[in-house]
């Protein structure tokens, strides 16, 4: 009988090896849905609405124990974390999937509300079409209702003192007409507020009529283009004559000297866990990153007027960076050699939903070098050694309304991880009566740039904050600021009068690790394990290298959006690991008041020296639009990398052999 039970159990296992950090599967989502629907939580009417469903983080110590030498120990319990909205209340539920039992159910009573789900945003967007004052406003503007499309915006928080129980959204409408580029044709002047829990318009204002931009020539679809066509080179395609170098086992990836786990979360999008890099001589893998993901995207617009002031968006916490992920298109979004992964999330009623091709993964060669040297110093000889750089990229693209965020995680054979964010997509524009800058008395009053007739591209920022739980060669790490400091020589001991030296400061508490790089002296930012030293006696570590200018928020400290995103004044924070501290702007970001955010946690000023630490790094963009960004912006990129710095005893790539290559390949298209 027991044997039969085991046989049944194993027959349910998927063909791929499962991992305790695997994201919830479709059948797990169904189990969760069924378990909750048959519980007391669903006895009320209307039924609760699912706002978030994801894997409840197993305890880090359990994971590390299971994955170390204790493979035979039972995996940590498989649990889900669920946020429901029911009866104007926010419920947090922990559910054991294996036993199909509710482990805990608490009502959240703090500030802020959970992520919006798709269904309620769609329902809210449809409300104006049956709302008489709106129909009158459209008629007044002499535009066709059939060409109107509406979309939702979070309302933010602007100093209201009393606690609100109302989840509200604002609705903005656009004209389509001949173009699919609706964002270029805002119907300005109307304010519509919807209460989501009752799904009703609760406030409506039609303040002023602004011309809707004509937006001729803004349709970006290939099929709509007429000659002369835009510039391009000849196609360049990539091939892998020896096949692909990546091994995929479920969500576990191994490639070259890397292995890591790739999960999907509806809020964070890609979650990279247990990234570790191989020690060549010992075939042993050494930990680098316990867990990393995009924690928040803060996008404050810089226009204080009635219809724009509130646009201070938290795209991950309010809309879901994973929920907004697009299905990647093979051969365009990713190169020919890409592998694809699907993602799953729960809909409003808890049903499993699939995002096909939510990630792609490919080996990249961009013509760059891993290393090279030509030696002519030895008489009579010329030695040239070159190694091409082949890296591995994990890609996700999230489209938050008008904007497209391309997020690449690039694993390099030298041991580095490069984090790049690229922006594309459409600008958020504002209608105006101006048709030429000559008509404008004071440029600053535009709060942006005149990009086309009746069209202002509004100034704004993008702050993409990464959560990076570093475990560099072990659990306890330290943050070291290696400051370059000028030393003046005044004693005549050298013909030089100065040089710079490196003064290393180890951060003792969180206060020592709040850094705006723009106001620091030149500093190497090191994350080290002081418990492990190289043979030479250096602390084993990684360092952070910028691939763009560091950017910080310019809002005043007392401004409400700034209070909600206090962390955005510094690019770098290091905190003591705390399982509950995952979201830089707080778990409940919609209408949040900044009381449970990264900068507040850091105020506790915990010890971070030789502790389990988390690095928070923000990639930022100040975006003053230019005409080239209209009607759709060319990609703009920024990012950073974490690079081994005394992690290895020497360059791990010296022993890498070059690729054998004879000449140009003969290629034919498949029929």
């Amino acid at each position: 009988m027991l044997l039969l039970f085991f046989l049944l159990l194993t027959s349910f296992l998927p063909c791929n090896t499962s991992h305790p950090l695997d994201p919830l599967t479709p059948s797990e989502f169904s189990t969760i849905q069924h378990t909750l629907k048959t519980s007391h939580l669903f006895s009320s009417s209307p039924p609760p609405s699912f706002q978030y469903v994801g894997l409840a983080d197993p305890d880090k110590t359990d994971i590390l124990y299971t994955l170390s030498d204790h493979h035979n120990s039972p995996p940590p319990p498989r649990r889900a974390f669920i946020i429901l909205r029911s009866g104007h209340k926010t419920h947090e539920v922990i559910l054991d999937i294996t036993t199909k039992t509710i482990v805990s159910n608490t009502v959240y009573t703090g500030f802020g509300f959970p992520m919006f789900n798709f269904e309620e945003q769609t329902a809210a967007s449809n409300l104006p079409f049956n709302y008489t004052p709106f129909l009158k406003s459209i008629k007044k503007r002499r535009i066709k209702l059939s060409e109107v499309v509406c979309t939702t915006f979070s309302v933010g928080w602007f100093g209201e003192v009393e606690k609100t129980t109302k989840r509200v959204l604002k609705i903005l409408c656009f004209l389509t007409g001949d173009t699919v580029n609706l964002y270029m044709r805002p119907v300005e002047g109307i304010t519509i507020v919807v209460d989501l829990d009752v799904m009703e318009i609760v406030d409506y204002k039609d303040r002023l009529v602004v011309p809707v931009p004509v937006a001729g020539g803004t349709d970006y679809r290939s099929s709509k283009q007429r000659p002369p066509f835009g510039p391009r080179g000849k196609p360049v395609e990539v091939v892998q004559p020896e096949g692909k170098g990546v091994a995929i086992d479920g969500h576990s990836i191994s490639w070259a000297n890397w292995k890591f786990h790739l999960g999907f979360d509806v809020r964070a999008g890609a979650v990279i866990s247990l990234a570790s890099v191989q020690e060549l001589e010992h075939t042993m893998y050494r930990q680098v990153l316990y867990k990393g993901f995009v924690s928040e995207l803060f996008v404050p617009y810089q226009d204080p007027t009635e219809e724009w002031y509130y646009k201070t968006l938290f795209d991950a916490g309010e809309l879901g960076f994973g929920l907004s992920a697009v299905s990647l298109q093979p051969l365009t979004d990713c190169p020919e050699n890409a592998e694809f992964f699907d993602g799953y999330y729960a809909s409003q009623d808890g049903s499993p939903m699939k995002i096909k091709n939510v990630f792609c993964l490919f080996e990249k060669y961009s013509g760059d070098f891993a290393w090279r040297h030509t030696e002519i110093g030895i008489p009579g000889r010329v030695i040239t050694e070159v190694r091409r750089e082949i890296s591995l990229v994990v890609r996700m693209v999230s489209t938050i309304g008008n904007y497209d965020y391309i997020v690449d995680w690039e694993f390099k054979t030298n041991g580095a991880i490069k984090f790049m964010v690229s922006l594309s997509g459409l600008l958020e524009v504002k209608g105006t009566s101006y048709t030429n800058l000559g008509q404008v008395e004071k440029d600053e009053d535009l709060y942006g740039s005149l990009l086309a007739k009746n069209t202002i591209g509004v100034n704004h920022d993008h702050f993409i904050t990464y959560y990076l739980d570093l475990d560099i060669d072990g659990y306890n790490n330290s943050f070291v600021k290696a400051k370059m400091k000028t030393v003046k020589i005044t004693d005549g001991s050298s013909l030089r009068k100065s040089y710079w030296t490196v003064i290393k400061e180890i951060a003792k508490t969180e206060a020592d690790a709040r850094i705006n790089l723009n106001s620091e002296p030149p500093t190497d930012l090191l994350f080290v394990n002081t418990n492990k030293k190289t043979k030479m006696g250096n602390n084993v570590g990684y360092r952070l290298i910028n691939h763009g200018a560091p950017v910080a928020s310019l809002l005043s400290d007392d401004d409400y959006p700034q209070i909600r995103a206090g962390y955005s004044k510094k690019q770098l924070w290091v905190t003591a690991y705390n399982k509950s501290e995952k979201w830089a702007a707080g778990l409940y970001t919609d209408q949040s008041r900044g009381d449970n955010t990264l900068s507040v946690w850091s105020e506790r000023n915990r010890v971070i020296k030789n502790k389990d630490i988390v690095l928070w790094y923000t990639v930022g963009f100040h975006h003053t639009p230019y005409q080239e960004d209209f009607p759709l912006m060319p990609t703009l990129s920024s990012g950073f990398e974490l690079r081994p710095s005394n992690f290895f005893e020497s360059n791990p790539l010296i022993k890498t052999r070059p690729f054998k290559r004879t000449e140009w390949l003969n290629c034919t298209h498949n029929p």
Copy 2:
């Protein structure tokens, strides 16, 4: 008769169209050599030594006139600029190549000396092997003379007041033995000074004996590696199923919406001229960059001790960034689809010398996007449009002794030019008795990092300065600082308390255009043509975007190397165009005293508003070595781009059609 003359003239034209900016050809070098050798300049003995030979810059107005609508006007005279060293004097010669006449010959009497040529460096490196005190020093160290290799270093200037007429170099020696990685095995403690004009050792000191590092395992040659081999993925190769998109006519390149001229100069390396970008609707090309090249490479080491203090190198001005360029290896240094160009220079006796494959040029696809958008805002539809980014890269690699500099000029279809510098190659290391950091009392006394037994990687900087003569849509341009400034709202006119706005400051004189980005508020750095406006009324322009953290020199202002490279305290300078101001650290950089450099020119404080202006931008690296950099460093990159910003009326790539692609190609290696 006149007709016959024309026929004769045209029959002399090479098959490729010649261009007035073409670099000197081998036959032109021979003409120059012959003309000079038969002149009075060569009547003395020993014969003069050629230090520099290159195209004398034609007047910019002549070039612009010839290339505008006046194609039938005669080209400017074809002239060479030559620097000779003769009788302890530096001669500047202008020679008309067509008429084979010396136009001018002047003796330079200022500070500093010309670039070293290869032959004199080699001769100097050989001197110690016949110098008895050196042979004794080698014997004392119990090392094999047959394994010793010597190389040369410039001596710098350290406050000597009297003018010197002595061109001197210092010699450093290394041990090879089992390895070709000689730089890891310095023979420390010996100072050798050579007078180049008489080719004699004029100073010799053997101060101390330091262990020569064993440097086991530092040979980087593939053939010397033994298992386990280093990590790598599977090869990724690029193919172009429709052929290459670039058209090459002599030195003139056209590709997609770009055309430009690519020349070689023995000092600067790649010289990009007349880069202009096409206006889609009018098929007209609009100017962007009149001329651009790497003007200087300043590499100050940060060790004030006797054997190291003077290492404050000006790699372009002293050694020639072009002279140090390597022959690029097809299929390793450049991708499969690369085209190659040769470069020519004059040897010490004026003979033409060839650097085969000094540049390569290839269309690049790295998996990135020109732009993309997914639209789900229109009910019932999902629209996805994606354009791959294919760009054109011009590449040169210069190996200055131990270091390899990879310089890429990337032309993008969006109108941007991206300037990237990548560092690889070997570190400059110092022998030491230390074998573990535990033995070191004060880390700072190492002036670097302990990388291996008896081996210190010395702290240093790299400052790569670009000369960019911008002609954005015409001759007269202006530099605008578009500063983002926080505005506080105190009148209750908005629920917001702040926003940022853009205050544009136009630089009137050179003093307004000396910028250390680390001490500026967030600023868009714009280069505009105020005489041309878009239809919307914006000034036509480009802006500078950083792809790395801005870096500036940390030496004290009164330190001699800093005086020689005064410009290195600011990343950005804008000067009024002056034909003679090309080299940031001066034309005569060896033993220079900083009196004829960028920062000095800028002190004239000329008007730069609505003038022909030159942008000088420095890409910098503070390099504290880490063990991974030993024995050969993984590539480290930084750079910037110039991107159209109100140059076009809208995104020029919207009308670009996607590449047609069906599926993965079938490829076979050629037999």
